[in-house]
Subunit: 172 residues, 2 copies
């Protein structure tokens, strides 16, 4: 990219460097949910109806917030871990913001914590850990459903997912 | 394939044609579940513990039976539709064996029908139709879970699946 810019677009490159510089200087973590924002509180945390919902969705990254927001079906707040528990890499509860999360749980106003960490081994372990925190603060916790993705075909779905789809079946 | 066989392996081709011919002559549909078998009843339908389970899983194809069997986690019986409802192609309830299915529902011995048709529009419509049949025979029906596949990452999952994963979330 650098060579292309040097050869063909030096003014564009200077603009890009300014934008990048500004972003690096002005974007930090939301004080409430830890996602990226230019303000003290992000737009979602400032939304009164979102707070009134009593729902708090826990995700691993700001990209997950974007993915969920694009569905237009969730109207609660978020808490962004910026990672997952990984003791082997020195990432413990403190590093993923669980002290702040406990503060929010004790402050009240949250009726349900929705655990939307990734459906990976690390994501499951992190969800399990946070579910126990919720229990100790008497806040309900739920886990997003594992199962077959919409539009797929059963025969191409991996066995582990199929097993979850069966065990998580719902009465009609 | 034909040119390759003509050029390099004529005796192999004759063997293949015999195997194919035998298969076409001897493999037909299981009288009970409609999957492919060389016998009157397939191996699964002949299994007494599977019958005793009281579970009947409805799938679209014999390949789906194989995929579910590979998980080793389901121990009930199957009913294979060999397709799905598709009125535009002239595929109605009769064509996917629902008369036989109603016979099994009225005969008793089935405590739960698990609808494992594909998570597509046609599969959902077919599952919905069969759920109504079950209700009219006072047999419980359930649908396999839709949600995020195990091992994936949230940000790469389509919005429709994410929406289902949220609405199907389970209390921990
Ligand atoms: Zn925020
Ligand atoms: Zn059979």
């Amino acid at each position: 990219m650098a060579f292309h810019l040097l050869e063909r677009n030096r003014t564009g490159a200077i603009d890009l460097s300014n934008v990048l510089h500004n972003a690096m200087e002005h974007i930090h973590h939301c004080k409430r949910c830890r996602t990226f924002t230019e303000d003290e509180l992000c737009e979602i945390c400032r939304h009164p109806e979102r707070e009134a919902s009593g729902l708090l969705c826990i995700v691993e990254s700001p990209q997950d917030v974007l993915a969920i927001e694009q569905t237009l079906s969730y109207k609660g707040q978020y808490f962004v871990l910026m990672g997952h528990l990984s003791p082997i890499d020195g990432v413990g509860p403190e590093e993923i913001g669980l002290t702040e999360l406990e503060g929010r749980l004790s402050a009240g106003g949250i009726n349900e914590v929705i655990l939307a960490t990734n459906p990976t081994v690390e994501g499951e372990a992190t969800a399990h850990y946070i579910a126990q925190l919720c229990a100790s603060h008497n806040v309900d916790a739920s886990r997003i459903a594992h199962g077959v993705p919409v539009g797929g075909e059963l025969e191409y779905i991996d066995g582990n997912t199929l097993t979850h789809a069966f065990s998580g079946r719902r009465k009609l």
